[in-house]
């Protein structure tokens, strides 16, 4: 995030789940910034805390969740100090979110038109007619054919790709400064995914919005991100601009992820894998959380939790031995 003005700034975010077996920590001490007009990808496997981090920003965490943060600020305004009412006014206006499964995030009982104009009218004092015109405009923006007739349709009449376009239209309805997209293309077919990614890029430029893009797919990351944050077991383990990250992944987990991703332009007989499985939140390993799966783990890794330290200029890595590991060139 070289010279960009910062839009979202998260400092020391900790998220806990209250369960029958006591309090378990899902996100540990996460801090990062997103610049204006920047697309930041948040990457990690299931259970790494990437979704819950984004829900914490939106103030949409489930009831059994405790969010503690030193600060979460959006465009200079402190979100942690806000009352639910104030936060609600920001949601859908300053910050909006799209989800993985567009069918479950649209209400099946209301028409597309109703759901779209509702979002517009909640935040703007305009007539139904004006709202409807804006809705048509938005559907055109997201390249939906026959927008007037789609407004009268219910979500079930639309394909997955079309529904995701509608979700994007709803999210962009009030020109938000921050769009959080949680695996927005995971449920879509690959040709539709390509269409949606392109659309998001275009809209981002047009509205000069920032995007926090949550995904597990390194291909998608390489395709669209400016900067990448890699999470593992509730912590950020690496942060870098997209080119540096792919050229030289520093953390053994990032390296493992890249090596186990199939590259279509080369053929390997055997894929590299990361041994073992993601640890359970309630029984985190001591020391570095990645050490039981790390091929380079040493004695000190078992005992000392590494800090997320600034290295090589604009990068961050959480590893005691990153310098010695070198980080193979990707490819």
């Amino acid at each position: 995030m070289e010279n960009r003005e910062s839009l979202l700034k998260i400092e020391n975010l900790n998220v806990y789940f209250k369960t029958e077996n006591g309090r378990i920590q899902a996100v540990k001490d996460v801090s990062f910034e997103i610049g204006k007009g920047e697309l930041v990808a948040l990457v990690g496997e299931s259970g790494c805390g990437k979704s819950i981090t984004s829900l914490s920003v939106m103030g949409l965490t489930p009831k059994n969740c405790q969010v503690e943060a030193k600060s979460i600020s959006l465009g200079g305004r402190e979100l942690t100090a806000m009352k639910p009412d104030e936060l609600r006014k920001l949601r859908g206006k300053e910050m909006a979110m799209i989800f993985q499964e567009p069918l479950t995030s649209l209400n099946p009982l209301f028409t597309i038109g109703y759901q779209l104009t509702e979002t517009i009218r909640i935040h703007n004092q305009i007539s139904k007619k004006e709202a409807r015109d804006r809705a048509v405009e938005l559907l055109k923006k997201v390249e939906i054919p026959r927008p007037e007739s789609i407004l009268k349709e219910y979500p079930n009449a639309l394909s997955g790709g079309m529904r995701q376009r509608v979700m994007i239209a709803i999210a962009m309805a009030n020109n938000p400064t921050l769009l959080i997209a949680d695996e927005p293309t995971t449920a879509l077919d690959v040709t539709i995914q390509a269409q949606i990614l392109r659309l998001m890029r275009q809209l981002m430029k047009e509205y000069s919005a920032s995007i926090l893009f949550i995904t597990h797919d390194l291909g998608v990351v390489a395709e669209i991100a400016d900067r990448v944050i890699v999470m593992y077991a509730g912590q950020i383990v690496e942060q870098a601009d997209v080119f540096s990250l792919f050229h030289r992944p520093l953390h053994p987990y990032t390296q493992g992820l890249m090596n186990s991703t199939i590259k279509i332009n080369q053929s390997d007989e055997v894929l590299d894998t990361i041994n073992g499985v993601v640890p359970n939140l309630s029984s985190m390993p001591e020391g570095c959380r990645f050490h039981p799966r790390c091929p380079y783990a040493r004695e000190d890794c078992r005992k000392t939790m590494p800090e997320l330290s600034a290295v090589l200029g604009n990068r961050y890595v959480r590893c005691l031995h990153w310098e010695e590991l070198g980080g193979d060139q990707n490819g």
Binding site: E45, S159, L271
Partner: protein, 333 residues
């Protein structure tokens, strides 16, 4: 790779009857698999790839006869499975096994791992008592499961380990053909690689033949020898994986290849120059006339709108169903 044919599918059709929209109206048919033919050689892996609704899973389910085909032949070692009754099918069930996508719903939560893996061996009266127990432990070791877990229940395992249980169960009867229906789609990237490596290793050890069904081309490319691309119930292209990737002949295959995001930002496709397939996958109940792909095809003309192209061998071993097959590949190197 030996050259004996293990399976030959000829003009296979699986149609589903869909209720008429009006009372007294004509019932409609969803042509999930519509005139599909291919052969599989002993020991090879045929990948079947396509987007949702293209009929790839229905094809797998029909070959294993979980579904009854509407028409056509499924010749397994010369015997037509399409014609057999349930009773007659039993002895072929041993030879063809399936691995499912969702390792959560495909294992009975009330059975212990040992019981799950032992069940096919018991059903087919292959082993009992101590011998059965030994066989199960052997299978567990072969798929990389710790044998001390034998008495645990599925919920105590991660997704990847559950998929290993499903694989052990499929291999218990020493099948000749294994149909893998999206076996890694539900798993995390690092675990996908583990399972793909395991499948390859088992293929070598036991001389297995696979049909590998998936929507992701990279996965299919990694594991397959040959690949069939399906679109709306039909195979539109079938070739060795190298020639399919180096020289796709069907515009749909080209579009699929172009759409894959590559995990390398230096190869980031220039947004403007990139050809992205337009439009949506049409409703399978009401497929477009002529070539089903024509509304999305950048090269479509009058012929394509009117006549459905046949799958033809355009180069040795390379089949495509297109009136205007691509001369040279644009995607891939």
């Amino acid at each position: 790779m030996a050259d004996g044919k293990l399976l030959e599918v000829k003009n296979l059709k699986t149609y589903f009857k869909v209720k008429a929209e009006k009372i007294g109206g004509k019932p409609r048919y969803l042509k999930a698999v519509d005139d599909v033919s291919f052969t599989i050689r002993q020991g090879e892996t045929l990948g079947i790839v396509g987007e949702s609704g293209c009929g790839k899973s229905t094809l797998g389910n029909t070959i294993i006869r979980l579904l009854k085909p509407t028409e056509g032949q499924i010749l397994f070692e010369g015997q037509d499975l399409a014609k057999l009754s349930r009773r007659e099918l039993i002895k072929y069930r041993k030879d063809i096994q399936m691995i499912f996508q969702d390792p959560y719903s495909s294992l009975n939560p009330r059975m212990r791992v040992e019981e799950i893996i032992a069940e096919p061996l018991k059903t087919h009266h292959i082993a009992s008592g101590n011998e059965l127990h030994e066989k199960v432990l052997d299978l567990m070791r072969n798929v990389g499961l710790d044998e001390t877990y034998a008495s645990r229940f599925p919920h105590e395992f991660s997704g990847g380990q559950r998929q290993r249980i499903g694989i052990a169960r499929a291999l218990a009867l020493q099948p000749k053909l294994v149909i893998c229906d999206e076996p890694v789609s539900a798993l995390d990237v690092s675990i996908q690689a583990q399972i793909l490596n395991l499948l390859k290793e088992l293929q070598k050890t036991y001389g297995l033949t696979y049909i590998f069904i998936a929507h992701g081309l990279p996965t299919v490319k990694h594991i397959s020898d040959r690949i069939a691309v399906m679109y709306l119930g039909q195979i539109v292209e079938l070739a060795d994986k190298e020639s399919l990737f180096a020289q796709p002949m069907h515009p749909y295959t080209e579009g699929l290849l172009e759409a894959i995001p590559l995990p390398d930002p230096d190869l980031r496709k220039q947004e403007e120059s990139r050809d992205i397939l337009k439009g949506d996958i049409p409703n399978a109940l009401d497929p477009p006339s002529g070539c089903h792909f024509h509304p999305r095809c950048p090269y479509a003309d009058e012929t394509c709108r009117n006549t459905c192209p046949q799958l033809k061998e355009l180069q040795p071993g390379h089949f495509a169903a297109c009136h205007h097959p691509l001369e040279r590949g644009m995607a891939g190197e």
